[in-house]
């Protein structure tokens, strides 16, 4: 039997605490679209996406009405395009434009998978695709791109790291008239996951089924308000327990919506990613949860420990709530997308060094960080290398999504609008890593890779 308290709790979560389904993402394999002729290949890609995802948005809206919970984004992820580009040759940007067109046709918010997996080296198509990223992201609107440059199994491909520093800069440069937004749609990964439903890093992994539906839930506001009701003297293990229970409830909603959407669309249900994904909206911030735990401001000493506990408690609660937890599952810390992080960065309480430490214990990496416009390519490469090293050694996913604020005068901020938010330029260390980055080559796979 339903009781009044439970009903009111659910309604308060949705109405006042911003509980939402952040995304339903349809993963579509494009392997059967590969063709030696790029024109034919693009046509097959367009047709397959449009036919498989034609009811995705409609189904999302139907479930929004049925359960009274917002489903903020409807998205598509596809097989890494480097594979198709490898078969067809030609200009990979044609694929980006095709993806953009297909995404517009079916009405989704983003399409991810303009990607290459080069952790151990480049195969046919990989390099060409990577080099085309700045053009692809400046000439399309909805396409997101990611490149995996390292893994615990393979080590770090430092040639790719070197290349990506320049690519991130060029992408920002090419979109400088539009808040350098291109760089906000490009993620450089170590240990990329194949079933991540969150953008910009989503792609449809090679081991995934033909078509699959995954869900990303969110709810930093819900966790925060639960913690706000706890007494100041509650010990941390009790706090962790409350976070766990809340994560459980949030995940159950995701499981319900995801499995029903998959059923309606007649595709396999993939995974539920139970990440706490913040938005710039007030009351939807991960930083504010950390502050609620007991920090004066996010970035204070103690932030890493609080985040580690939060991340772990979220996973534990989610694991029991769903039989198929996957993706990144944990707490996200994208600076420009989080009201609390933006405030901490503006005040100088939160530095990029602290963020780097935080990435060692949460589910992603240096995310949505605005860096000075005159940052050299090799410095960006070095940031990527540092993050990848943390991921490689700790057997976890790490990523870099930094936005060089090209031609933006000091003291002003970038403003992307919507979920991507806005943020101040963060200071970097001025010393040069050029010699190390220019060596290229490979950082060999670590001891952790030899598990067999």
């Amino acid at each position: 039997m339903l009781n009044m308290q439970d009903i009111m709790e659910t309604i308060t979560m949705i109405q006042d605490e911003n509980l939402d389904i952040r995304t339903i993402t349809m993963g579509i394999s494009l392997i059967d679209c590969a063709d030696a002729d790029i024109e034919k290949s693009c046509k097959k890609v367009y047709d397959k996406i449009c036919s498989n995802a034609k009811d995705l948005v409609k189904t999302g809206e139907l479930l929004e009405r049925k359960y009274g919970i917002p489903i903020v984004n409807k998205r598509i992820s596809v097989t890494p395009i480097s594979l198709l580009a490898g078969v067809s040759g030609g200009d990979p940007v044609e694929y980006a434009k095709t993806l953009d067109r297909a995404a517009q046709t079916v009405g989704v918010n983003f399409i991810g998978g303009y990607s290459a997996l080069v952790q151990k080296g480049f195969s046919a198509g990989d390099k060409k695709l990577i080099e085309s990223i700045p053009r692809a992201l400046s000439e399309t609107e909805l396409v997101c791109s990611s490149v995996n440059i390292g893994s615990t199994k393979a080590g770090i491909n430092m040639d790719a790291v070197k290349l990506m520093g320049g690519i991130v800069r060029d992408t920002a440069e090419k979109t400088k008239d539009n808040q350098c937004i291109g760089a906000a749609k490009l993620v450089v990964f170590c240990n990329a996951v194949e079933d991540n439903p969150f953008m910009a890093g989503a792609f449809h992994g090679l081991s995934e089924p033909d078509t699959v539906l995954s869900v990303g839930v969110s709810g930093p506001g819900v966790v925060r308000s639960v913690l706000a009701k706890m007494p100041d003297e509650a010990p941390l293990n009790v706090i962790a327990e409350e976070i766990k229970k809340t994560a459980f409830k949030i995940t159950r909603v995701g499981q319900l919506v995801g499995s029903e959407a998959a059923e309606i669309l007649k595709v396999q249900f993939g995974i539920i990613d139970l990440s706490l994904a913040p938005t710039p909206a007030v009351g939807d911030s991960v930083a504010h949860i950390l502050e609620e735990i007991g920090l004066e401001q996010c970035g204070a000493h103690g932030t890493t420990a609080a985040l580690a506990m939060l991340n772990d408690a979220v996973k534990k609660g989610g694991l029991m709530a769903s039989g198929s937890v996957g993706g990144l599952s944990g707490a996200f810390i994208p600076v420009t997308e989080d009201a609390g992080m933006i405030a901490a960065a503006r005040e100088g309480a939160l530095s990029i060094e602290k963020l780097e430490a935080m990435t060692a214990v949460c589910s992603v990496g240096l995310d949505m960080i605005v860096i000075p416009g005159d940052t050299k390519a090799e410095v960006i490469s070095a940031i990527i290398a540092d993050e990848a090293a943390i991921g490689m050694i700790n057997s976890k996913t790490t990523a870099v999504r930094v936005i060089p604020a090209i031609d933006v005068p000091e003291g002003t901020e970038l403003d992307f609008g919507g979920l991507l938010g806005s943020g101040p330029v963060m200071k970097l260390c001025g010393k040069s890593p050029a010699k190390m980055i220019n060596r290229g080559g490979r950082i060999p796979a670590p001891m952790q890779s030899l598990k067999n």
Partner: protein, 91 residues
């Protein structure tokens, strides 16, 4: 036996005359039937939760919700399928 589909309707806002009657009329207008009502007035604030059988309803979720909202425009109305509550609060 046909499975019974249930929805939860909540109406919250400042108390006034005739809320229950108007809401029930709107629900009946969509051929849905009220199974259970729980209602309190606290400090002048009216809070009502109804469990409604929508198995035979002629209106969809959105239309039914709109029709209830129109009947009591001063109030905050929610209409949700009961499954969301069951999955959140029951193991």
């Amino acid at each position: 036996m046909k499975e019974i589909k249930k929805a939860v309707v909540t109406v919250i806002g400042k108390d006034m005359v005739g809320i229950l009657s108007r809401v029930s009329t709107a629900i009946a207008g969509g051929n849905a039937s009220v199974i259970e009502v729980s209602q309190t007035v606290l400090d002048g604030y009216f809070c009502m939760i109804m469990i409604v059988n929508i198995t035979e309803a002629t209106l969809g979720f959105e239309e039914l919700k709109n029709s209830i909202t129109e009947s009591v425009p001063e109030m905050k109305v929610h209409l949700m399928h009961e499954d969301i509550f069951n999955s959140m609060h029951r193991i």
